[in-house]
């Protein structure tokens, strides 16, 4: 029984890591196809990828869109959470439901709806039309995280600040935001992750300025290549470093 447990554990990890290992190993392939036999170690595909102007442009677009759309989503979500937490509005249950609703809908459907509207109103597709879609998917998340983090303690501090003559903007900026800093950071981090890796909205709502997942997608259409492995490995490396840093500096400290 005891041995069975460890066999299962090892098998599960093997299954989970198999594709990643294959991806990374064959990014060093000294040959034209990322399949066995492994023909030797070469960095040529990394050189090719890092010198590829389209790919670097896509990388920049992805980073820009993830940062801007997450910042917008966080701002809107934070303000709405603050508004709903501080004053009793008629129908606030429905308001909360409406703000959360996009979370339960497939990205494909959100993208198709926006595409319909942009087509009918003659809006030209660009990085920013996809950014609008990314705010739609991340706003519920940011709102929910901020709303859940607001407690009575916070409300008391805000009321005190108001009694002492702080304006609404000052309350938000000098009291609420600093008190919620960990939640705001978590919401921003999650939004960036989702936006960075999102495919279908970016695919349907951009035209010429594409994001990294869309660029990788178009690389796939020309068949298997170690260059795709190299891009994938680089993205993986960056993400893992980010996760480890977050783990060590943000979460470890709290625990």
């Amino acid at each position: 029984m005891k041995r069975l447990v460890w066999v299962y554990l090892c098998a599960a990890y093997a299954f989970i890591f198999l594709p990643v290992i294959v991806l990374v190993v064959f990014s060093f392939q000294d040959g034209r196809l990322p399949v066995p036999p492994f023909q030797g170690v070469s960095l040529q595909w990394y050189a090719k990828v890092l010198g590829d102007r389209d790919l670097m442009a896509a990388l920049f677009n992805s980073a820009l869109m993830a940062a801007v759309s997450s910042a917008v989503a966080l701002t809107l979500g934070f303000l709405a959470a603050h508004g709903l937490a501080r004053s009793v509005l008629p129908g606030s249950v429905w308001l909360r439901g409406l703000l959360i609703a996009p979370m339960t809908v497939s990205y494909l459907i959100i993208a198709l709806g926006l595409l319909t509207v942009f087509n009918q109103t003659g809006v030209r597709l660009s990085l920013w039309t996809a950014g609008v879609g990314h705010v739609v998917i991340n706003l519920p998340l940011c709102f929910a995280i901020c709303y859940a983090a607001m407690g009575d303690h916070q409300k008391a501090a805000e009321r005190a600040a108001r009694d002492l003559g702080a304006s609404e903007v000052q309350v938000l900026w000098l009291v609420s935001a600093p008190m919620l800093a960990p939640a705001l950071l978590a919401a921003f981090f999650l939004s960036v992750t989702f936006s960075w890796d999102e495919f279908i909205i970016a695919f349907l709502l951009t035209r010429f300025e594409v994001t990294l997942p869309v660029e990788i997608w178009s690389m796939l259409r020309s068949g298997l290549s170690p260059a795709t492995n190299a891009v994938g490995s680089l993205v993986f490396l960056v993400s893992v470093v980010a996760v480890v840093l977050a783990e060590v500096f943000v979460f470890r400290r709290r625990a």
Partner: protein, 284 residues
């Protein structure tokens, strides 16, 4: 103006931007799509109408309806297999791995999450393809004489999905298991229950809400995904999202694509209603 009225006005002012954004870019687009699903195609032009033609087509043309069945079958298999594989893994990490290593074990179990989504499916293609690692290995050790045809089949789609959802479910089920007080199992053992009975009558019922929630999330994400079936499954057996994308791309048939999306949405809503009894979406 009274104090309460001022309060309320400020409240509305704060909620307004998010509300306007959600209405303008979520509610209105959805309504537009719904309206479009009743429109007609004449040649390559969309004619506004109130026409049930697209829905009738879906239920009467077998290739269209088959896409929904394919999606449902794949999703059902993926959900069951993923839960069946993830539960033991989560349980081993929660109960057998020493506490100080659990966080690391869990972090490792979800590490491939951090590869790009498109790249993850592509990696499985490298493993499962005709000249892929799996075939080369099996041929090498002489287990098979001919390469297995896995890529571009439903099996490949299922493997790709299961890989993703095993990671997701391990995380959610683990979170459920460690919340359980060990006293429940201890009490059951004191009263004479064996390990199987403890699991069957104590642990499993207590973690069921978490499992159902995880299974529901799996269902929603799996039904709506385009990438995995497109890269791994190929074009032999289309899923509903693949069919929708095909309508957009090749034929530019937006009304039919809209109708199919509405149907996808209806199926997911139905699944929600059916599982709502056990769902604890606030406790994911």
């Amino acid at each position: 103006m009274t104090q309460a009225a001022t309060e309320r006005r400020v409240g509305w002012g704060l909620v307004a931007p998010a509300l306007i954004w959600t209405v303008a870019f979520f509610v209105v687009p959805f309504a537009a799509m719904l309206a479009l699903s009743f429109a007609r195609m004449e040649g390559r032009a969309v004619v506004a109408a109130f026409d049930l033609g697209n829905y009738v087509r879906f239920f009467t043309e077998w290739p269209l309806f088959k896409a929904l069945l394919n999606s449902l079958e794949i999703t059902a298999v993926v959900t069951v297999v993923s839960v069946a594989l993830a539960y033991p893994l989560a349980a081993i990490i929660a109960f057998r791995v020493p506490v100080r290593w659990q966080r690391l074990a869990l972090l490792l179990a979800v590490l491939p999450f951090w590869t790009s989504y498109v790249v993850r499916s592509y990696s499985w293609l490298l493993v499962l393809g005709q000249n892929g690692v799996l075939n080369k290995t099996l041929l090498g050790v002489g287990l098979i004489a001919e390469p297995l045809e896995i890529a571009a089949t439903r099996t490949a789609t299922v493997i790709g999905f299961v890989h993703f959802f095993v990671m997701l479910l391990t995380l959610t089920i683990y979170a459920n298991l460690v919340q359980l007080s060990p006293n429940y199992a201890r009490a059951a053992r004191d009263l004479g229950a064996g390990p199987v009975q403890v699991f069957r009558f104590v642990i499993l019922p207590l973690t069921l809400p978490g499992v159902v929630t995880g299974a529901f999330v799996t269902f929603v994400l799996c039904m709506g995904d385009y990438i995995t079936p497109q890269i791994l499954g190929g074009n032999n057996e289309l899923t509903l999202p693949q069919l929708i994308m095909l309508q957009l791309g090749r034929s530019g048939n937006f009304p039919l694509a809209s109708a199919l999306s509405v149907i996808l949405m209806a199926v997911i809503t139905l699944a929600y209603v059916l599982s709502a009894r056990w769902l604890r979406l606030d406790r994911v």
